[in-house]
Amino acid sequence: MKGIFVGLVLGVVSVLVIPAPLVAHHGTASFDTSKDLTLKGTVTEWIWANPHCFLKFDAMDDTGAMRNWAVEVSNPTDMTKRGWARSSFKIGDMVTVILQPVKNGAPIGRLKTVALPDGSTLTAMGPAPAATPAPAQ
């Protein structure tokens, strides 16, 4: 049931999210921005750094191969405005990631949305969520 709910939420989010530039410092020439790939995987690393944060996770693709993916988002400043944080992921978290893959077939991509173990979803593209949590540490 929870899976169906998450799927529904992701479906709605993927329709609502308007494609928009994710990253400020470079374009998207190497990425297939017309294709969304949905992968369920396990977080292996979450890098909170400039010029771009990136999430690494192990996931099985449609060929049955398990690969370690690295998917980028914007910088910590921009992601903070979207409600992301250094503490958004822990190693071992089960996540469902919607991404735009790189054209060359490597396990690299641009993250669009990620569903977290608690059922909530973080978005990395399109308009920032209206209610921006106040960053505090």
Partner: protein
């Protein structure tokens, strides 16, 4: 009941400012859109000859694709022939980018600092200087207001040499020369020469709002002056606004390239 409601309303009016005044927040990424987009036409008048404070342009300050420049001269075409920008009309594949800022963390330099990632910045006025402290790169600039003139034939500096004056009680004008030719103007790889002259105008509209205009005058590189920032709106942030660090660390850039950029090469 009406009295109770009125009392509650008045109490709320006092409570809200009190709460925000007491709030201590760290690592602010920027003002929320609701604050940036508020009209603020009822703000208090601008103080005279005072542009001090923390200012935020929000998304308008981030010019990812760069700027549409005035036409390049032949000198500019030659200068930028080997520039491989990551964005704009001449963008190359990610793995081929050679932008000195994003690939090796060279200083963004001036005026790129006010043409690209114009994140929140703090202006501090002293008796003989205006200091601007930028969140992006955690850099600062010194603008001399002691009456000195710009140097003749200066050694190039990443952030040039700046002097400023008050054009009127609400408009501070900065003139800068001597910017190092190695810096790009923006993400699109627009070049500049050592002859570049930049004018910044900071016009305080009222207490909460200021406009920034930047004009590029570089006859060696462009056929005419052009204005990449035209009355860009800046909103005053609360005094307790603690800016995040936003630093280009070579270690982090190398890690990003190793994990992402270098693996995007098209076979």
């Amino acid at each position: 009941m009406k009295v109770l409601f009125a009392m509650a309303s008045v109490a709320t009016l006092f409570l809200v400012p009190l709460r925000s005044a007491q709030a201590q927040e760290w690592n602010s990424a920027g003002l929320p859109d609701s604050v940036l987009n508020a009209p603020r036409t009822n703000a208090a008048p601008a103080p005279k000859r005072d542009i001090g404070g923390i200012w935020d342009a929000g998304g308008a300050g981030i010019a990812g694709p760069g700027h549409e420049s005035a036409p390049w001269t032949d000198w500019a075409k030659q200068k930028a022939a080997n520039y491989k920008p990551g964005n704009g009309p001449r963008a190359v594949y990610e793995a081929d980018i050679n932008d000195p800022l994003s690939t090796v963390c060279d200083p963004s330099g001036f005026p790129r600092l006010v043409m690209y990632e114009t994140r929140p910045f703090q202006i501090v006025q002293t008796p003989n200087q205006v200091l601007i402290l930028y969140m992006f790169e955690k850099r600062w600039r010194v603008i001399w207001t002691d009456g000195r003139t710009l140097p003749k034939d200066p050694d190039p500096r990443w952030y040039g040499y700046s002097v400023g004056h008050w054009e009127d009680d609400y408009t501070f004008v900065v003139n800068t020369i001597g910017s190092d030719e190695r810096s790009w103007l923006d993400n699109a790889g627009n070049p500049h020469s050592a002859d570049l002259k930049v004018e910044e105008r900071y016009h305080r509209v009222n207490h909460d709002v200021m406009e920034m205009t930047v004009t590029i005058d570089d006859a060696k590189a462009y056929t005419r002056p052009w204005t990449p920032r035209n009355r860009m709106r800046l909103t005053l942030a609360p005094a307790g606004f603690d800016m995040m660090e936003m630093i280009c660390s070579p270690t982090e850039v190398m890690d990003f390239r190793r994990n992402i950029n270098d693996r995007t090469v098209n076979k």
